[in-house]
């Protein structure tokens, strides 16, 4: 049996790139990525025996603390790409050479890392991803946010990029994700129960597991998808609306001529704003749910 996440692309509920700082040696940093920063931090600090933490194992550097999270990645690969770019800011293709603040390998400081985060957020590649930033400032003097705000290299990021300041544990305890899973359940039930129509093209949405044949390989799934099946279904998350639509219909409606990813979009039924990534998140999860069911049969 194939793991469901590898069958079809699913937007992960959470994936982040984190910046660690060594507490005893505050000039040492580590950049990594993970879907579970809490667990990963414990691995780095040796509290969990399982899990690789090779580079943070050296004597005298533990414990580490998370100073910064960049999250809301739509895929693991994009997070890994961001991680790599942030680890190699002197050579990444996502920072124009003339803009670089890190010219050569080995220069790290918090100011530098933050400047590179800013640069990457403004790059053409990462800018459309709607990334968010968490600065994990658990000191009382708020030195981290000061460094971020001082913005030593004067790199401006667009206003719509969300920058939160919150200690890591508080952030992780925040209930944002669980709400979405509740939402997912109700939407899934709605979609499977009654046959609904796309609120934009008025076509019938047939999302019952019975129609999905069983697949043996990913290639088969892709072929099936290319025939126009298994289209991603988005849903309005307003509890009183909950209207469905084809993701492509919605995207087509909200993009003019040749731009790809819609920037501003709203539900056609209730006119509420849609968070595109959340919509995609749920849509991809619904699809994978459908596929998983079909394989279980």
């Amino acid at each position: 049996m194939v793991n469901d996440s590898s069958l079809c692309h699913v937007v992960p509920t959470f994936y982040c790139v984190y910046v660690l700082q060594s507490i005893p040696k505050p000039r040492s940093f580590y950049i990594g990525s993970t879907p579970d920063p809490n667990r990963r931090l414990r691995q780095h600090n040796g509290e969990l025996k399982r899990g690789g933490a090779y580079k943070t194992k050296r004597d005298g550097f533990r414990p580490w603390k998370v100073v910064m999270l960049i999250y809301n990645f739509p895929s693991k690969i994009s997070a890994l790409q961001f991680e790599h770019s942030l680890q190699h800011p002197y050579q990444t293709r996502h920072i124009d050479e003339i803009n670089r603040v890190t010219i050569k390998k080995g220069t790290t400081s918090l100011q530098n890392i933050m400047a590179n985060v800013r640069l990457l957020l403004t790059s053409n590649f990462f800018n459309p991803l709607d990334l968010k930033i968490l600065i994990c400032d658990d000191n009382d003097d708020q030195s981290l946010i000061k460094i971020w705000n001082i913005n030593k290299y004067k790199i401006d990021i667009p206003n719509y990029i969300n920058v939160d300041v919150q200690p890591l544990q508080e952030f992780l305890l925040d209930d944002k994700n669980s709400i979405k899973s509740n939402m997912f359940e109700t939407l899934k039930q709605n979609l499977l129960k009654e046959s609904s129509t796309c609120s934009i093209c008025s076509c019938k949405i047939d999302y019952s597991p019975e129609t999905v044949p069983s697949f043996k390989s990913k290639k088969q799934i892709n072929e099936f998808r290319q025939q126009g099946n298994l289209r991603l279904i988005g849903a309005c998350m307003q509890s009183e609306c909950n209207s469905f639509f084809h993701l492509t219909c919605m995207a087509m409606k909200h993009t003019n001529d040749n731009s790809l990813i819609p920037k501003y979009k709203s539900c056609t039924v209730c006119n509420e704003d849609l968070d595109w990534l959340s919509v995609v998140k749920i849509a991809t999860r619904l699809r994978s749910y459908l596929l998983r069911d079909s394989l279980n049969d």
Binding site: I98, N124, L247, M252, N256, N258, I261
Partner: protein
């Protein structure tokens, strides 16, 4: 902001006096600190506060210093960025007028750069024949140098006379250079080995030369006393270099540069040294250091015609002949050739009695004896220029007040200047010229999408179209004049398809900052637009810098655009005399027109088969693709990619509101990307992948695009994905 422990200790060790002094400050600063540290009221806290203050102070000072440093560095760096975000970048356009045909043909060689390291020398030496390094030559030399290093007796290493078969003349020269590089501060006693080499070379020379004269002219060995040698090798490297340039110049066969008299803007004039002057300098050093030259000329020359310049007259005369030949080659008057001969003689006179006349060989004196320089404004009538009457005059004495005034004369006045423009530039221009024989057709440029690329449209920009010419343009004229006259002359109009009564006028504009412009040809309106090249402020070789020159120009890049336009033929009565546009009002192109050109869009099927290979390479680069081997492949790639530009429907209005303007992609690329986006949007399966942020597998995407008729390269797709925030991988599924 925890108190730094070291700073704290420092505060503790302070003397009471200091404490008192700081106390006053503390009181004033206490309020500020109170918010930060929550200042305790006890006396103990005074010192604590002191340390706090000190650390804060140190921190701010360090920060300030760093910021000023950074800003200055940034400022310096900004000069190099050709595209700044500022929309009000001042773009100044200088118009360069077509230049009269120069009568000299240039075949300048780049002067030999100074050898700076052993490595570079070895590289140069064995560049042509890499294998020869391993054939034992180097071993010989290494052994030699090792011997010198170990201060062995050189005679033991190299038995004189017997080695003449083993070690060639070039090898000896190579030895000398290696030694000079390896041991810049050679002890005097060790310099005896150099003497040995010199002697060996002389010996070799004698044995090899078959003429009686050359044997007779060889320096007797007895003349090389230790004292002389010492004096000889204490020479500065510069002087030695000048001897090398002497040889270089001898090779050059052009002496004159023709420039417009009104171009002699002395303020912007880069330091120049004329051929003859350089020649003179080298000749001077020849005279004063004839012995050194005996070695070093050989060293540089490596088998050129003149090997040894000795104190014999005949050798010097040989030089003179070659140079006077060059003078006649450049088709100048016989007079000038004679002048040169005179110069040679005057220079070589001291050669006869070398040691007694050394001090009289002051450069200034001999310079004045240079007859060509003396005749400040000597004018010659040209003989064989076809239509315009050309006046040739020396510009040496041109006063600085005259330059940059509009030309008063209707006739073309050509000046023969003994000044040579820096050869680097000349070379650059040659490069810029050669591939542009068949202009590339216009490829649509959208000015809206990348404002930095094109001329900004706001009103506060400063566009100067003036008559003021830089010396650069004059330097250029010698190279382009040929072509320019063809375009401008009504007699040669048949070069173009247009046979109507139109006259072609070419204007040249210098635009600050590098502007990407494609060559453009509009046959219906008879307009040609061509980017001639990019002028960069070059670092000029030290030897060529005139000490008192004022070159304060900031390093900046200037694009030179040449626009040829057919206009209604002016009054026929003036036909015999070609008019040089002399005032800004006479400009054929306003700045608006230039802008229009730049913003002009035109969809044309480009036949890449007509391109030269270098043009293809350039095109590939311009479209953000990697250059590859194979002309056919390049053509194929470009033709395929060009489909994206042809099929454009919505190219004019580009929506970049959500996108950062990128300096990495050209307008054409932008259009191609947008068309590709349109193609992707038309396919639901692929569009769904992109809007759901599914990492694309590039090979799959390539296959799909190929199946619908777009054969695109990986790197192109990769770049497209990067620009549009599409996550992609190169790996296929391993299922």
């Amino acid at each position: 902001m925890n108190p730094d422990s070291s700073a704290y200790n420092k505060g503790m060790s302070k003397s009471p006096l200091e404490e008192d002094a700081v106390y006053g400050q503390r009181v004033s600063a206490r309020d500020e600190l109170g918010s930060v540290v929550g200042a305790p009221e006890e006396d103990d806290s005074i010192q604590f506060l002191q340390t706090q203050m000190q650390s804060i102070h140190e921190e701010t000072v360090a920060k300030e210093q760093h910021e000023t440093k950074l800003s200055s560095q940034l400022g310096q760096l900004r000069q190099f960025s050709n595209c700044s975000d500022d929309t009000n970048v001042q773009v100044s356009i200088n118009t360069i007028k077509p230049k009269p045909k120069s009568r000299t043909t240039r075949s300048l060689k780049k002067p030999k750069s100074k050898k700076q390291s052993m490595n570079s020398m070895v590289r140069d030496q064995f560049e042509s024949d890499k294998l020869s390094y391993f054939t034992g030559d180097q071993k010989k030399i290494d052994r030699f140098i090792k011997a010198i290093k170990n201060e062995e007796e050189l005679d033991k290493v190299i038995p004189i006379g017997s080695t003449s078969q083993l070690i060639t003349k070039t090898d000896w020269a190579y030895f000398l250079r290696s030694i000079k590089l390896k041991f810049p501060n050679l002890r005097t006693s060790r310099k005896r080995s150099l003497k040995l080499i010199t002697r060996n070379m002389a010996l070799l020379e004698r044995s090899e030369s078959d003429g009686l004269w050359s044997q007779a002219s060889t320096m007797p060995e007895t003349e090389l006393s230790n004292e002389e040698i010492k004096w000889l090798y204490d020479l500065h490297d510069d002087e030695i270099e000048s001897t090398s340039s002497f040889i270089e110049d001898d090779v050059n066969d052009n002496v004159f540069v023709l420039t417009l008299s009104q171009n002699m803007d002395s303020q912007r004039q880069p330091p120049e040294i004329s051929d003859s002057e350089q020649f003179f300098h080298s000749a001077k050093s020849t005279a004063s250091n004839s012995q050194s030259l005996e070695i070093f000329s050989e060293e540089v020359n490596n088998g050129a015609d003149i090997v040894v310049i000795s104190d014999s007259e005949s050798e010097a005369e040989q030089l003179t002949i070659s140079d006077s030949k060059s003078a006649t080659c450049s088709q100048s008057q016989v007079q000038s050739g004679q002048a040169f001969i005179q110069v040679q003689e005057s220079i070589y006179k001291p050669d006869i009695d070398l040691h007694s006349h050394q001090k009289e060989l002051d450069p200034l004196i001999s310079f004045q004896s240079f007859p060509f320089a003396d005749s400040k404004r000597r004018t010659f009538m040209s003989q064989d220029t076809p239509n315009p009457i050309q006046v040739i005059s020396s510009s040496t004495g041109k006063s600085p007040s005259v330059p940059s005034s509009p030309p008063q004369h209707k006739r073309k006045i050509i000046e023969v200047s003994p000044f040579k423009t820096p050869t680097k530039r000349a070379k650059l221009l040659n490069n810029a010229m050669s591939p542009n024989v068949s202009p590339i057709k216009m490829i649509p440029i959208s000015s809206e999408t990348t404002p930095e690329h094109t001329l900004p449209n706001n009103a506060d920009e400063e566009i100067i179209i003036s008559d003021v010419e830089s010396i650069y343009s004059s330097a250029r004229s010698t190279i382009y004049s040929n072509q320019l006259q063809e375009q401008a002359s009504p007699l040669k109009r048949r070069h173009y398809r247009d046979t109507s009564k139109k006259q072609l006028h070419t204007t040249r504009h210098e635009v600050k900052h590098q502007i990407p412009i494609r060559d453009f040809e509009d046959k219906d309106n008879h307009i040609w637009l061509k980017k001639v090249g990019v002028k960069e402020n070059q670092v000029i070789d030290i030897e060529e810098i005139i000490p008192d020159s004022e070159d304060d120009e900031e390093p900046q890049e200037v694009s030179i655009i040449e626009i040829t336009k057919a206009v209604d033929e002016p009054d026929r009565s003036n036909a015999s005399i070609l008019q040089v546009p002399s005032s800004p009002s006479g400009e054929l192109f306003s700045s608006q027109e230039i802008r229009k050109f730049l913003a002009d869009q035109e969809d044309e099927a480009v036949d890449f088969n007509t391109f030269t290979t270098s043009q293809l390479m350039e095109q590939l680069k311009d479209w953000g693709m990697k250059p590859i081997r194979g002309r056919d492949q390049m053509i194929q790639i470009l033709t395929e990619a060009n489909k994206l530009t042809i099929n454009s429907q919505t190219t004019a209005e580009t929506t970049t509101s959500t996108r950062m303007p990128s300096i990495k992609i050209s307008p054409t690329q932008q259009i191609m990307y947008e068309n590709l986006s349109g193609i992707i949007k038309s396919n639901e399966y692929w569009y769904e992948k992109i809007i759901s942020f599914e990492p694309l597998i590039l090979p799959e995407m390539k296959d799909w695009l190929e199946s619908i008729g777009y054969k695109l390269e990986f790197d192109f797709l990769q770049k497209y994905c990067d620009e549009n925030g599409i996550c992609c991988t190169n790996q296929r599924y391993t299922n």
